[in-house]
């Protein structure tokens, strides 16, 4: 593992929409320092996968079949606090944002915004900062 490889951050994606997963994977491949380690169609095996692979970043959709993503998120952040979760969803609602933050999310990004917002958020979280995309911030203000 060279120095560049050492500075790589791993990213696990949980989304039931394969188009989204594919797009993210495509983008991640083009982004230095970020490495795609896989995708899950729901949160059923998320805990197990995170515990085994310890990704730096988990990108989590909310509107998926399977277990309640908020509950999974709470367990995940408790057991694997080093794996930081960013919620990436088209549902931008204050109650969802608050529940996600309370459960342990480090960021909340709207799928309605440009995908650059997601990569900005990943950068901020890796830097130890919290991340709300502009639409999410606006929602919290109203």
């Amino acid at each position: 593992m060279n120095a560049q490889e050492m500075s790589e951050y791993t990213v696990l994606c949980v989304d039931d929409n394969p188009h989204v997963s594919d797009a993210l994977r495509s983008m991640l491949h083009r982004t230095p320092n970020l490495r795609w380690i896989g995708t899950l169609p729901d949160a059923t095996d998320l805990l197990e996968r995170v515990e085994s692979e310890r990704p730096d970043i988990v990108i989590l959709d909310l509107d998926m079949p399977g277990p309640d993503p908020f509950e999974v998120l709470a367990t995940l952040s408790e057991r694997c606090p080093d794996s930081k979760t960013i919620v990436f969803t088209g549902h931008v609602r204050r109650d969802y944002i608050d529940r996600a933050v309370e459960a342990g999310a480090w960021g909340y990004v709207s799928k309605n915004e440009a995908e650059d917002r997601l990569f900005e958020a990943i950068g901020q979280v890796l830097d130890g900062r919290f991340a709300f995309s502009p639409e999410v911030r606006a929602t919290l203000d109203t």
Binding site: H19, D22, S26, G90, E115, A138, T142
Partner: protein
């Protein structure tokens, strides 16, 4: 010869002789007969009048021809019954024919002038010495006056006898001289028991002096009229009597006694007393009545009123006064306030027409100008023949009832109005509910759309990015850019749609909305409200914020643009401009179109709920009303400028707000975040950055130059210990906000905002 005496006819010689006749025929006799005041005449055997004196001629009213007139010198003779009596049947004729004296007969003689006299003739045969009848002498005594007196006396006696009153005569000494049947009935004594005795037998001992007083009056010739006193009956009963005593004079006018008419008024007195008692009782009752009561006579003069009436009138009118007629009140008005003259009051009508009135309402004014509402009941008073004697009026002060009734009426009206308003509100709410249901559906739809848009557009965008990075021919690159632009537009549409669907009322106290920021998100959806050929322009100033939530502003402007779009749709083309300018603490945001404008009748009603010029199928009619409601809730107002052919411009006047975007020229405040949980610390740091505070690193400690310290709430100990540890005491101690264990994000945001607001009130940032 015996000289006939002349003092009375009865003493005429009963057996005249020839010498008598010769004497009578002689001059001396004739002179003598002619001088006596009684009428005398003689006839011979054949009945021829041979002599008459002047008194006879005067009585007859004519002078008969001596030797020719037969039997009598009268013009006509009648019996006392009025039947004609032939002269040859008159008493003189009878005396001559039968040769006897006729006595006790009375006849009526009529003179040529028609005057009749009642006569008692005394024909006496004249005989010669041999006893042979030679003629007769008749003395005619005029008894007309005597008979008239007798008849009058008889009538009087009959009256006296039949009178119910006691009629008593007495001497000046008080001795009873007559006592009629009435006196016997009243006092119980028969005439035989009392005549000749003193009148004092009927006078109670304690009133004996009265008799002296009465007699003194009588002696002076004075009459005592209707003197009411008490007398005593034979059986000892005391009687109330009314006495009239008059002097009795003899023919010379000398007072010789007294006549006394006494009437037993005991029963009348008792009746009067009973009536008086009854009236007093009635008056007492009427005085106590809580209602005003008064009575008028047939002329309308007030004959009675009780205390309550005077109290209500505020005056005490004079009784039986021609000037005080029909009403004792100062002035009377109809409930509507029209003056009623006394002669037109219900009381006057009742007296005039004999009508009753029930619960008539009137307004009565007192002399001091105060008024009261009166309820009036009137009944006419009729006698047994149905004649109107007057009327009684019972009236009450019903001011309070009238006031209550009016209040009730007003309340009823208010209630009805309130019900109508509530009904309108309900209808409004119902329509709004339907609208909000529609909006909720729209929200659900747009939320789903947003999600799907995100899911669908994300791969598109990513693919486009990949394509853009690839080495493509120029034409393909342009295609990619066009796709990317469309995709971005779709993305903005999704954001705008979501904002439109949010309930503006749930925004609470909204954060300031920067107009330019808002427009960057909202324009896509607002653009959709307009037909494609209509241009949409926005000219919004930089750093201009309003105190209205973004969804509310979006919904308001969306609706205004939708209206503008509808107005322009027929023409197909047009322009809508959105402009804003700040003026003091207000921001005027104008949405103007260059459409056909509105006629006045539309302009005046277009902001009322459910007013619409469109068909119901495409409009709720709530659009402009909804805008007005949203603006009102934000503390603003809405104005419309329009005229036919001149477009329409709606201006929302909204409270201005400080821009949430930090002014780069302003010095930033500094904060220290001492929170153990790195994620929470990161969250707080992110929030503070958003709130325009610089977060200083921990390495800066101890540094007193911070404005805000955000600390973990210590599980043990106090914040003071933190102060010591942090060494942040000084002249400008920072504001400290403590964050508890496992804080909720909403609570953190509120705590930080509150802290920053308090800092904003501080004079200047720490240095």
């Amino acid at each position: 010869m015996t000289k006939p005496t002349t003092d009375t006819p009865d003493r005429l010689p009963r057996v005249p002789t020839r010498e008598d006749a010769a004497w009578a025929e002689g001059a001396a006799g004739a002179r003598l007969l002619g001088a006596i005041p009684a009428a005398v005449y003689t006839c011979d055997m054949a009945g021829r009048v041979t002599f008459f004196n002047e008194a006879a001629a005067e009585l007859w009213g004519r002078r008969p021809l001596l030797g020719q007139d037969l039997w009598c010198g009268s013009w006509k003779i009648f019996t006392v019954d009025g039947a004609p009596l032939p002269h040859d049947q008159c008493p003189m004729a009878v005396a001559l024919k039968e040769g006897r004296s006729v006595r006790g007969e009375e006849i009526i003689v009529e003179r040529p002038d028609g005057v009749r006299r009642r006569i008692r003739p005394h024909p006496e045969p004249l005989r010669d010495e041999s006893g042979a009848l030679v003629g007769a002498l008749n003395m005619l005594v005029d008894v007309t006056e005597q008979r008239r007196l007798e008849e009058a006396q008889a009538r009087l006696a009959a009256i006296v006898d039949s009178s119910d009153d006691a009629i008593i005569s007495k001497t000046l000494e008080g001795r009873i001289t007559s006592w009629n049947a009435g006196a016997q009935r009243i006092f119980g004594y028969t005439p035989e028991e009392v005549i000749g005795r003193s009148i004092t037998i009927i006078i109670p001992s304690d009133r004996l002096t009265e008799e002296q007083t009465i007699l003194q009056h009588i002696r002076r010739g004075e009459r005592v009229d209707h003197y009411e006193t008490i007398r005593v009956a034979k059986d000892g009963t005391l009687l109330n009597i009314s006495v009239t005593v008059s002097p009795v004079r003899d023919h010379t006018g000398r007072i010789i006694g007294a006549s006394k008419v006494a009437r037993d008024v005991t029963r009348r007195k008792a009746a009067e007393e009973a009536l008086r008692t009854s009236e007093e009782r009635l008056r007492a009752i009427l005085s106590l009545l809580p209602a005003g009561v008064y009575a008028c006579d047939a002329e309308g003069r007030i004959t009675f009123y009780n205390r309550r009436a005077a109290a209500l009138w505020g005056r005490e009118p004079a009784l039986h006064d021609d000037q005080e007629r029909f009403c004792g009140g100062f002035k009377v008005y109809t409930p509507e306030g029209a003056y009623i003259a006394p002669a037109h009051t219900p009381m006057a009508v009742a007296i005039r027409e004999g009508r009753s009135f029930r619960d008539v309402e009137a307004v009565c004014e007192r002399p001091d100008g105060t008024r009261f509402d009166a309820s009036v009941n009137i009944d006419p008073v009729l006698d047994t023949d149905g004649r109107i004697l007057g009327a009684i009026n019972v009236f009450q002060d019903v001011t309070e009832q009238v006031r209550a009734r009016r209040a009730l009426h007003d309340h009823h009206a208010i209630l009805q109005q309130a019900i109508a308003e509530r009904t309108r509100e309900l209808e409004d709410t119902h329509r709004r509910l339907r609208l909000s249901e529609r909006m909720a559906s729209l929200g659900t739809l747009s939320a789903g759309l947003g999600h799907d848009f995100g899911n669908l557009l994300l791969p598109v965008r990513v693919s486009l990015d990949a394509l853009a990075a690839a080495d493509l021919p120029e034409s393909a690159r342009q295609d990619v850019e066009r796709i990317r632009t469309s995709t971005e537009y779709l993305q903005q549409l999704a954001v705008g749609l979501r904002m439109l669907s949010l309930d503006p009322k749930r925004a609470g106290n909204p954060a300031p909305t920067d107009l330019r920021e808002w427009w960057s998100e909202a324009h896509a959806i607002i653009r959709n409200a307009l037909p494609p050929a209509v241009e949409l322009e926005a000219d919004l100033p930089d750093r201009c914020s309003v105190a209205m939530s973004r969804p509310a502003l979006t919904q308001a402007v969306f609706n205004l643009c939708q209206n503008a779009g509808d107005a322009l749709r027929a023409r197909g083309r047009g322009r809508v401009r959105i402009t804003a300018r700040r003026e003091g603490d207000r921001v005027h945001l104008t949405v103007a179109d260059d459409g056909p404008g509105m006629p006045p009748e539309v302009r005046d009603h277009c902001m009322e709920p459910f007013f619409t010029t469109k068909t119901r199928a495409i409009s709720t009619g709530l659009g402009l009303a909804l805008v007005a409601g949203l603006v009102r809730e934000a503390g603003g107002g809405i104005q419309l400028q329009t005229a036919p052919g001149q477009g329409a411009a709606f201006t929302l006047t909204l409270p201005a707000a400080e821009s949430p975007i930090p002014d780069p020229d302003q010095p930033r405040r500094r904060a220290l975040v001492e929170v153990s949980d790195p994620r929470i610390r990161a969250l707080i740091t992110s929030e503070l950055g958003y709130l325009a505070l610089d977060v200083v690193p921990e390495s800066a400690l101890p540094d007193p130059r911070v404005d805000l310290a955000v600390l973990d709430r210590p599980p043990n100990g106090t914040l003071a210990r933190h102060y010591l540890l942090l060494g942040i005491e000084g002249d400008h101690p920072p504001h400290v906000t403590a964050i508890g264990h496992k804080p909720r994000p909403g609570a953190i945001r509120r705590a930080l905002r509150s802290a920053v607001e308090q800092l904003a009130a501080a004079p200047e940032p720490a240095r």
